[in-house]
Amino acid sequence: MTAGPRGTPLLVVVGAGGVGKTTLAAALGLAAAEAGARTLVMTFDPSLRLKDALGVGDAARQRPVTVPLEGPGLLEVSLLDARATFDDLVRRYAPDAAAAARILDNRFYQHLAGHLAGTLEYMAVERLFEVSAEGRYDRVILDTPPTQQAIDFLEAPDRIVAFLDSGALRIALAPWFSAAGRLRVGAAARGVARLLDRLVGLGLLSDMAEFFQAFSPLYAGFRERALAVRQLLRDPGTGFALVAGTGIERTPETLFFARRLREAGHRLAAVVVNQVHPAVTLPPDLPAALAPGLGLVAWLGQRDARGLRELEELLAGDPPLIAVPLRPVPPTTLPALSALGRELATVPALRSRDTASRHGGG
């Protein structure tokens, strides 16, 4: 059974920092595996306890690690590392080892690979593309990095391509450098170039120019791949689960993410409001000792219920909204994650089999 054009239904878990994306991605992966699917969860920075629960250590940075489960399914977990993935890509697309080394040793690259906005996000999608193309899994779930704005992640491929592909930058640097990449400080360096040179000195600019020189044989490969990644994120087989925080004041942010996702041509599978406080009815004879804590929990419960009601009205079932109650103890054991995953799977769009069958025919 094939799902999308590339065979693997993808679920991308997005949302603002601190809303519990990683835990939910692990729970969804576990539920899919327990339902019999061969599942891969790609994640960034799980807590120590979550890593322990899944039994994945740093080895998962190199290759996917299998989580020991009973039953027919398979769950593998892969930890993403932006720098290592970027280095791998340079090695793969460089014409020879010497060219790769020139880039990897370049001081500008060393700053760039770790610091350029969106690098981590882009690398996540790169890896997603790879595993999707391999076709080893029935289901791939991607946890996204803790960006302040969930949307950064989606724009990363475009931004990186624009930067790497930046004709403007190469052209602008051209007057300073000969075709052989030698610095031309004499007659050609004039006007703006000379002023900028006065501002920053030559060291960094020659690093940048050298980087773009060394990188130029890689442009075609990178560009092609980034376009494929862009397409994959808009594939009908790729769904997005938007995880939101509780409380009425988060509603505008949640709606904004949802709208942006759709405007950019992505399929929004569900909105998950995580860690919802329970509704509490305060007993009339509330002992004074219990008032501070119970009063607080009751207030939080009312706040969360108001936020949920508002979001429910505004979304009107499209996409489906699922509220995940706050657990007294964070779900960091396999049984707790499994229970959470089954709860999430009550939304058909978040169930692996449904996604697979929906796109199976088309």
Partner: protein, 309 residues
């Protein structure tokens, strides 16, 4: 620049720059706003710098958004939303002196890409502007700049950037500026770091990673750790059996377990940082001016007032 006398490495009290850092969702912006309110109330002239283009901070101070202009938010307090690109242009104008030349530079695509792509430039622009504010080179004049640092990159990148740029560029007016800013943010008597956190497993793990990064890359420890969202202490006596029967049992259990987690994680934080720890209760209050006032009251207890000079 002349150093002021009689100020040891004094944490927050004498600092000219306070960087408030922490991961997303831990109440960092509330802490930044509360610190600004508190220290402005103690007669320091404070500029609160916001770097988030979505401008969340004005809602915490009950003023209109800044849109790049300083907004008076009470006695001794201004809010300023900084656009790094604009600040960089202002810096170039200032350093090049000749306006038409400066315009030519800032309008060129090389400059655009340079500020966008060259690592550390935006950070340098923001911190360079902070330095100019406390030197009274630009308005509003300030004794203290508080930066609500971006949630990504831990804020360590922000503080490490000037030294990196200074090393990469060396000469030129920008190189010299980078050197001055690196000295400013590297001086524990002038620049302080506040880490906001939650007493939950993952946020504490992230805070511990941040402490390690600060030691390694900046050679310093936080001047204050502000722990948000603590559930109230759970009563020790066995009470509430009646309430349990009446359906509040789940809520009581939630409270008990959450408080136990808070205490466990607070211990882990306290063991890892030598500096002061502010314990901020979970207030039944949505993010906004009222919450900021309550958090400022808690911080007042954690930060002793400055001795008279």
């Amino acid at each position: 620049m002349r150093r002021r006398r009689g100020r040891g490495p004094g944490g927050l009290r004498g600092a000219q720059l306070i960087v408030v850092t922490g991961k997303g969702g831990v109440g960092k912006t509330t802490v930044a706003a509360a610190l600004a309110r508190l220290l402005a109330a103690r007669d320091r002239r404070v500029v609160l710098l916001e770097l988030d283009a979505r401008e969340p901070l004005h809602r915490f101070l009950d003023v209109p958004p800044s849109a790049g202009e300083p907004i008076a938010a009470g006695p001794h307090l201004h809010l300023l939303n900084l656009r790094p690109q604009a600040v960089m242009e202002a810096l170039v104008r200032d350093r090049l002196k000749i306006a038409p030349l400066a315009r030519a530079v800032t309008a060129s695509p090389v400059f655009r890409h340079f500020v966008d792509g060259a690592p550390g430039m935006k950070e340098l622009a923001v911190l360079g502007h902070s330095l100019r504010l406390v030197r009274r080179e630009v308005r509003p004049h300030a004794d203290l700049v508080i930066v609500d640092a971006p949630a990504t990159g831990h804020g360590v990148g922000l503080l490490a950037a000037p030294a990196l740029v200074s090393e990469a560029i060396g000469g030129g007016p920008l190189g010299r500026l980078a050197g001055e800013v690196a000295e400013f943010v590297g001086d524990p008597a002038r620049t302080a770091v506040v880490v906001a956190a939650l007493a939950e497993e993952m946020p504490v793990q992230e805070a511990l990673e941040l402490f390690a990064m600060m030691r390694e890359r900046l050679g310093r420890t936080p001047d204050l750790v502000a722990v948000n969202g603590l559930y109230p202490p759970f009563p020790t006596a066995t009470v509430g059996a009646g309430s349990r029967e009446q359906g509040a049992g789940g809520a009581i259990e939630l409270w008990r377990q959450r408080r136990a987690m808070n205490e466990r994680e607070l211990e882990r934080l306290a063991a890892a940082c030598q500096g002061p720890l502010a314990r901020i209760p979970l207030f039944p209050e949505s993010p906004g001016p009222a919450l900021v006032r309550q958090v400022a009251d808690v911080l007042a207890g954690a930060i002793a007032p400055q001795e008279p000079r």
